[in-house]
């Protein structure tokens, strides 16, 4: 083992250019977006080579799910990506429903959309903090992450948990909306609409912010899809692509909203896209609250200890803030999943894409670029 390591070390050393300094960004580093590492070689301030190293958060969920039954594995899901767990739950629930042919009540679908959009907002609030924090503007982070608590309060009220909701499950949702919840949501939305103005003034109107983000971390538009770019990052390249529209799920096809895009492919345009999406989320949430039908919220699953799914596989995709997340499940007809596989946007964004677009950038921008790509290491390693 020792020998192997030495050889490995030597090989990497050989590859290094002589002038270049190697910088290890992470795993313990305030600028990293989680527990991972980016090893960059810099000449002066310019990156000439970047390598990501992941695996610090590998818990082998997919392996663990094989040991748990279909319901038990549901509780693991929200740990796949912590800032925004709901799309993962949604993907799993929908994959299971697809495989089993289980109908979901209309009300549950609306509640799910409400949940997903709230989660999107919450996640973007955290992103605000990360993106501006990586550029040294801590005030925004303090505001948005603090305000995010109001969304978390809503989650707590609805699901009983601030961060891990475990709410969207196969067949519908776990509990009905509590009394007066809709009003609370609307009030919170009003608050956020007011606050967004403050955020804009401080962040998007800010010359320095514009200078720091425009033209940085550019993804070429013509390569974007091929490189596996998804979500707001792809929309930031000027390509209109959103699973909510392309491959609609739940009741998104009944809702009126716009998919914002922005040409440029740099941090700035990605930030703008995200910024506009928050408005759209608020719009969707208002529509959902208005149109929510009454009725059942849960199509009961059988006794979870004896719940089997028919043989086969299913794949369900959901649009998260990081882009396309999806769950692939394979059933062999038993009470346990044969295999589950989680496809996270960061799996592509955080490794191949990051390694590609970091080259030629300034070291100072690594953190900002990672934040703008929405790199979420737990999603990569699962």
């Amino acid at each position: 083992m020792e020998k192997k390591f030495l050889i490995l070390q030597k090989n990497t050393q050989d590859k290094m250019r002589e002038k270049a300094t190697t910088l290890y960004i992470g795993p313990q580093h305030p600028g990293i977006t989680g527990n991972m590492m980016v090893k960059v070689q810099v000449e002066g301030d310019t990156i000439v080579r970047a390598r990501t190293e992941v695996g610090y958060l590998h818990r082998a969920f997919e392996k663990l799910q094989e040991r748990r039954n279909w319901l038990q594995s549901f509780t693991l899901l929200c740990r796949f990506c912590v800032p925004e767990p709901d799309p993962v739950e949604e993907s799993y629930a929908r994959a299971v429903e697809l495989l089993e042919g289980r109908e979901v009540p209309e009300r549950a679908k609306y509640i799910r959309v409400l949940m997903l959009e709230l989660a999107r907002m919450g996640s973007y609030m955290l992103w605000y903090g990360g993106q501006s924090g990586s550029l040294g503007l801590y005030t925004i982070g303090q505001w948005t992450v603090g305000d995010r608590n109001y969304i978390l309060d809503l989650f707590e009220e609805l699901t009983g948990g601030r961060v891990y909701h475990m709410y969207i499950w196969p067949g519908g949702v776990r509990r009905d909306l509590p009394e007066g919840f809709a009003d609370k949501v609307l009030r919170t939305m009003d608050y956020f609409e007011k606050r967004l103005k403050d955020y804009d003034d401080l962040m998007f109107e800010n010359t320095i912010f514009q200078k720091r983000t425009q033209g940085v971390g550019v993804i070429p538009k013509e390569k974007a899809v091929e490189w596996g770019v998804v979500g707001p990052v792809l929309r930031g390249c000027g390509i209109k692509s959103d699973i909510r529209i392309d491959d609609p799920y739940e009741v998104y096809d009944k809702l009126d909203f716009i998919v914002p895009t922005h040409e440029g492919g740099d941090i700035w345009s990605r930030a703008l896209v995200r910024r506009q999406e928050i408005r759209q989320s608020i719009r969707i949430i208002r529509q959902v609250i208005e149109n929510m039908p009454s009725g059942e919220y849960y199509n009961r699953i059988p006794n979870p200890f004896k719940w089997t799914l028919p043989k086969g596989d299913a794949y369900a995709r959901t649009e998260a803030t990081r882009g396309e997340v999806a769950m692939y499940i394979v059933s062999d007809g038993s009470i346990h999943p044969r295999r589950t596989h989680f496809r996270g946007a960061a799996y592509v964004h955080g490794i191949t894409l990051l390694e590609k677009i970091l080259i030629g950038e300034n070291v100072a921008d690594i953190s900002a670029i990672m934040n703008s790509l929405g790199v979420c290491p737990p999603e990569i390693e699962r």
Binding site: M1, P27, P30, A60, L64, L126, V145
Partner: protein, 181 residues
């Protein structure tokens, strides 16, 4: 000044009071628990009120927050980070998975029992612990510091061999500098 027992006591008291009110937390999100750290540190819960603030590097940090499960790969870094920290240093186990493996009890890649590898001062229960729980965890640590019982660094030094044996058991490729401070 006579360096007798009483004056030493007073000095200790003042030092512990200062340590208690100035807790610099290393910014290392080792696991999913890192998600409740931003809310704790930001405007709504504002841990800085209590003197808790972030520190960018281990040299400056007082507290190592093990935010949740540790994979073997991370454990290696965490040990390194812990050893770089300056005495007195404290470890807070954050979340269920630091206590007995949590939901990853059967995972091949996460450690289950944190105090086999590092001396832990306080455990905060929960998955996730809410910011309130995190703050009360800090409050408990403050109490422990004030009482002068938070001497994990000394404990680590005294039992270094035992800790090393445990650490080496699961980290096959052990390349680390000696710990001698």
């Amino acid at each position: 000044m006579v360096n007798d027992k009483n004056s030493q006591k007073i000095v200790d008291f003042i030092q512990n009071w200062a340590r208690k009110h100035s807790i610099w937390v290393l910014a290392y999100g080792t696991g999913c628990g890192a998600i409740e750290i931003p809310p704790t540190m930001t405007s709504r819960y504002d841990a800085e009120r209590l003197g808790v603030r972030g520190a960018a590097t281990p040299r400056q940090a007082d507290v190592l927050l093990i935010t949740g499960y540790l994979t073997v790969k991370t454990l290696k870094r965490v040990i390194r980070v812990y050893e770089q920290m300056q005495d007195p240093k404290y470890v807070i186990g954050f979340g269920s998975c630091t206590i007995n493996g949590g939901m990853y009890y059967d995972s091949y890649n996460t450690i289950k029992v944190l105090d086999k590898y590092l001396p832990v001062d306080v455990y905060i229960n929960g998955c996730m612990p809410r910011p309130e729980a995190v703050l009360s965890g800090f409050a408990r640590l403050q109490k422990r510091i004030a009482e002068g019982r938070a001497n994990g660094a000394q404990q680590y030094k005294d039992n270094l061999e035992w800790y090393r044996a445990n650490q080496k058991k699961i980290i096959p490729n052990w390349i680390m500098p000696e710990y001698n401070w």
